[in-house]
């Protein structure tokens, strides 16, 4: 029984190991990048849009509206990063219906990489919006006593982000494998269906949490002012 696709090795040359996680990550990336490039090669502005351009516009505009709704601020700077995370995880999770495809999100390496990307993006967005001093000041925000807890929280939420996605996808795969041995006829199909739903929800949750972390680092000051203004009025 395979817990992670890391153990399936396709090619090995000394310390360079090409395992299933890498190959399927590249496949997913290629599908997304080539698909997007092919659709956006000839964009038209006409009453009658080509179907694929229409589809992509719906997807991007949907993410845009959703960020604006969750965030209550200009979604433009967050759209690229959060949208890419969401689309990558969603595609990886949904492609598990293809036989032989091992979701790269079922490996702790992939999810850790994504979580570290969020971990690095938080200070980048924070410094860009508020300057280095303003960002560092946010660690001392309620009182300086909370500084160690803020730093611990920064690391532990990165760990939680990685383990949550990995655990959900891995448990779905494991459950499907165990049920395939126990009740091989209809039950695994229903479990796979449930796994697809969980895959979509987990992609959504990952993107939303990344958005919340980044946005909270970028806008603590404004929120505090607006709250104190509400209290005054």
């Amino acid at each position: 029984m395979q817990i992670t696709p890391d153990n399936i090795i396709f090619y090995q040359y000394q310390f360079v190991v090409i395992n299933a996680t890498l190959v399927y990550t590249w496949l997913t990336m290629a599908l997304l990048v080539i698909g997007a490039a092919w659709v956006t090669k000839k964009l038209v502005v006409r009453p009658k849009l080509p179907p694929w351009q229409n589809f992509l516009e719906i997807v991007v505009d949907g993410i845009y509206q959703h960020i604006a709704e969750v965030n209550q601020q200009e979604p433009e700077p967050y759209l690229a990063f959060v949208g890419t995370l969401f689309l990558f995880i969603l595609t990886a999770n949904l492609l598990t219906v293809v036989p032989g495809y091992q979701a790269p999100t079922g490996s702790l390496s992939t999810t850790t990489a994504l979580a570290i990307a969020v971990f690095i993006a938080v200070p980048i967005y924070g410094i860009r919006q508020r300057g280095i001093l303003g960002y560092l000041k946010s660690y001392l925000q309620p009182t300086p006593i909370m500084l160690p807890f803020q730093i611990i929280g920064e690391f532990s939420r990165t760990l939680a982000l990685a383990v949550r996605l990995f655990g959900n996808i891995m448990s779905g795969n494991l459950l499907a494998a165990i049920l395939l041995a126990l009740v091989p006829l209809f039950v695994p199909v229903a479990m796979n269906l449930l796994g697809l739903v969980f895959g979509v929800i987990q992609a959504y949750v990952f993107a939303i949490l990344a958005l919340v972390y980044i946005a909270s680092a970028a806008t603590v000051q404004e929120k505090k002012q607006s709250i104190s203004m509400e209290e005054n009025s």
Binding site: M1, I3, V70, A160, V163, R164, F166, G167, N168, M170, S171, L174, I201, Q202, Y204, V205, I208, L209
Partner: protein, 91 residues
């Protein structure tokens, strides 16, 4: 009992206990959260979108404790470090 048998049996029992106890809390918490959310949607159906969105994010946060327990029990069962250590020692 040899070291390997002891480690194997303790790992199995601990994995079972981990996932059993670890799933009680999140199950209760998720039940309460869903009950409250349903009540809120019944009172304010026009805010259903926002409540559902917050509910999903909250459920994922609550559920992650159960997922941690699952990961720990999987580590105990499949990639137990002590098991490998004693397997190498025993030869």
């Amino acid at each position: 009992m040899s070291d390997l048998a002891l480690i194997g049996s303790v790992a199995m029992v601990t994995a079972g206990i981990t996932i059993a106890i670890g799933s009680i809390g999140p199950a209760l918490g998720e039940g309460m959260a869903v009950a409250r959310a349903l009540g809120a949607i019944a009172q304010q159906p026009d805010k259903a979108n926002m409540i559902t969105r917050t509910l999903f994010v909250g459920l994922a946060m609550v559920e992650s404790t159960a997922i941690y327990c699952l990961v720990v029990s999987m580590i105990l069962l499949f990639v137990n470090p002590f098991w490998n250590y004693f397997l190498n020692q025993g030869g």
